[in-house]
């Protein structure tokens, strides 16, 4: 059990150490996250190609998890900026599954509706809607729904690209559908029930 140590009292802390957020995130992450093992070395932030666009570096975010700063962590744009390049993952001396922790934080932010910018969550959700309907990704449907909603002003500049992709047969007009869509739907339905009970 966590308790008020002398050090925490001397540091002026009024709360006892509470690692429940850290443990929750760790448990919700695929594989064995090693999140508890973070030594705050900062190799992750130093390796990150997009750290400049993040509210917090991964290291800082993990310190915030340990400090139980639930709201701040789930509102951070960091997991949404992460490009899953795994540079930090192969360099982390503690083998923290950093990219997978980011996926966990995204799903927690979605469930608690705590993200600040809806562009990325909507994109993920639209992509998943396509899969749950067709079993395959459907780029034209995804792109048109997403751009009309979030980047209408990018559309004129993207016309040549879209035109090129369609005329070269690189973007299908109609979606492809798998044969056993019922089977996939049933599997996903059961998986969602299991997600709630875990």
């Amino acid at each position: 059990m966590p308790h008020m140590t002398d050090e925490r009292v001397r540091a002026g802390l009024s709360r006892e150490e509470d690692l429940s957020l850290l443990q929750e995130v760790s448990m919700k992450t695929a594989g064995v996250s090693h999140l508890e093992m973070c030594i705050q070395c900062g190799t992750c932030g130093g390796s990150c190609p997009v750290a400049m666009d993040m509210d917090h570096t991964p290291r800082m975010l993990f310190a915030m998890l340990r400090a139980g700063m639930r709201d701040e962590v789930l509102r951070s744009n960091t997991p949404w900026i992460c490009v899953s390049c795994y540079h930090c993952v192969v360099r982390c001396p503690q083998e923290v599954h950093i990219a997978d922790v980011m996926y966990t934080l995204k799903s927690m932010a979605i469930h608690e509706k705590l993200y600040t910018d809806s562009t990325a969550p909507h994109f993920s959700q639209t992509f998943v809607d396509m899969i749950e309907t067709f079993g395959r990704s459907y780029e034209l449907g995804l792109a048109s729904r997403h751009y009309l909603r979030h980047f209408p002003l990018r559309l004129p500049g993207m016309m040549p690209m879209g035109f090129g992709m369609i005329t070269k047969g690189r973007m299908a007009i109609t979606p492809k559908k798998i044969k056993h869509m019922d089977q996939l739907k049933a599997i996903l339905k059961r998986a969602k029930q299991l997600e709630l009970t875990s």
């Binding site: 919700k28 695929a30 190609p49 997009v50 666009d53 997991p79 900026i81 490009v83 899953s84 390049c85 795994y86 540079h87 993952v89 192969v90 990219a99 996926y103 562009t119 990325a120 994109f123 993920s124 959700q125 992509f127 998943v128 899969i131 079993g135 395959r136 990704s137 780029e139 792109a143 979030h150 209408p152 002003l153 990018r154 004129p156 500049g157 993207m158 040549p160 690209m161 035109f163 090129g164 992709m165 005329t167 070269k168 047969g169 690189r170 973007m171 299908a172 798998i178 044969k179 056993h180 089977q183 049933a186 599997i187 996903l188 059961r190 998986a191 969602k192 299991l194 997600e195 875990s198």
Partner: protein
């Protein structure tokens, strides 16, 4: 004869069509046989994992379950699943690995699969990327022996991307940050391979869709460095990397006010050319940043195909929303 199960992935029939066509063109000379996984579904890319854990892994595992059933149904069934797309490769490998590392995940995924009368015992299949089997099963010697039109003088940078060499659950690659598999393969084709330290830097992934400023900077770094090093062409192993560097290069140029022209082809297209196939047989011309000039430098003639519309350059005619640029970008989107 090398025989494998194939997980093509969604992009192989759409944005990465050139990859699919060129793969088909090199199978016969290399004596490879692919058997497609029947009724495979999308792997979820990098999107589903960030929404729901168990459904995301069940979606991936359905493919592994179908593959293991197909493998078991054959007398000489191969246990190797080949994925040519780096994102598919990573997702399949990741599900297989984490279902073992965290057995409770495996139990739940199998509980979901059971509803569809499927199951997958993690560890029964080997998930490998196309370039892995080409370099390590087929071998560079065999590849070299099939070259009838060496790509001598073709200045190319090898672009491996990030999701292939990392996180590398099964220790398949020579290095996580500077792997040499693609360099070696391109050299076997006779190409003039230029050292490319950014070979495993990120192309931006889905950020071209959700945070273009972030993605444009990553694309700029890749293209600018390849250009500075004198490359005429980039070679890639991943449909996502190809799509980002190729289809968004024009928008990236507009955003930074630059004028790069850096074509990017799939490594299998270059293999096809070196094996004597015609450019149009290996999907050359499907790229938006044309590789005509780069290939002309080694005497390969690419037939003219229809080029995409040029963007309107002057502010004339109907009033249009302002062009997306670095300085105006943020205000323009809001």
């Amino acid at each position: 004869m090398n025989k494998y199960l194939l997980y093509p992935g969604c992009s192989m029939e759409s944005s990465g069509k050139a990859y699919g066509e060129s793969i088909n063109a090199i199978l016969e000379p290399l004596d490879i046989q692919f058997e497609e996984i029947d009724d495979w579904n999308c792997c979820g890319a990098t999107e589903y994992l960030g929404i729901n854990l168990i459904p995301a892994y069940s979606l991936i595992a359905r493919n592994l379950a179908l593959a293991s059933r197909q493998s078991a149904a054959q007398m000489d069934g191969t246990r190797t699943v080949v994925a040519p797309c780096s994102a598919c490769y990573l997702n399949l490998a990741k599900a297989d690995y984490y279902m073992q590392e965290r057995p409770s995940l495996g139990v739940k995924v199998n509980e979901a699969l059971a509803v569809g009368d499927l199951q997958y015992r993690a560890g029964t299949l080997d998930v490998r990327h196309l370039i892995d089997i080409l370099v390590y099963d087929v071998g560079l010697e065999t590849i070299r022996s099939k070259v009838v039109r060496p790509l001598h003088g073709l200045k190319v940078v090898p672009y491996m991307g990030c999701m292939l060499p990392r996180p590398d659950y099964q220790h398949r690659w020579s290095d996580h940050e500077h792997p040499t598999e693609l360099d070696d393969l391109l050299r076997a084709l006779g190409a003039d391979v230029i050292d490319y330290p950014l070979t495993t830097s990120c192309c931006g992934g889905h950020m071209t869709q959700i945070g273009p400023e972030t993605a444009f900077e990553l694309i700029r770094r890749l293209v600018a460095d390849a250009d500075e090093r004198g490359a005429l062409l980039m070679a890639t192993v991943c449909p996502m990397c190809q799509m980002n560097v190729d289809a968004y290069q024009n928008e990236m140029n507009q955003y930074f006010g630059t004028d790069y022209h850096m074509p990017i082809l799939f490594f299998t297209q270059l293999m096809g050319l070196a094996f004597g196939r015609k450019p149009e047989e290996v999907g050359i011309g499907l790229e938006l940043v044309s590789s005509r000039n780069a290939l002309a430098s080694i005497g390969v003639e690419v037939p003219v195909t229809q080029e995409p519309m040029a963007p309107r350059q002057k502010d004339e005619g109907l009033p249009m929303p302002r062009r997306w640029t670095k300085h105006e970008g943020k205000e323009a989107v809001k």
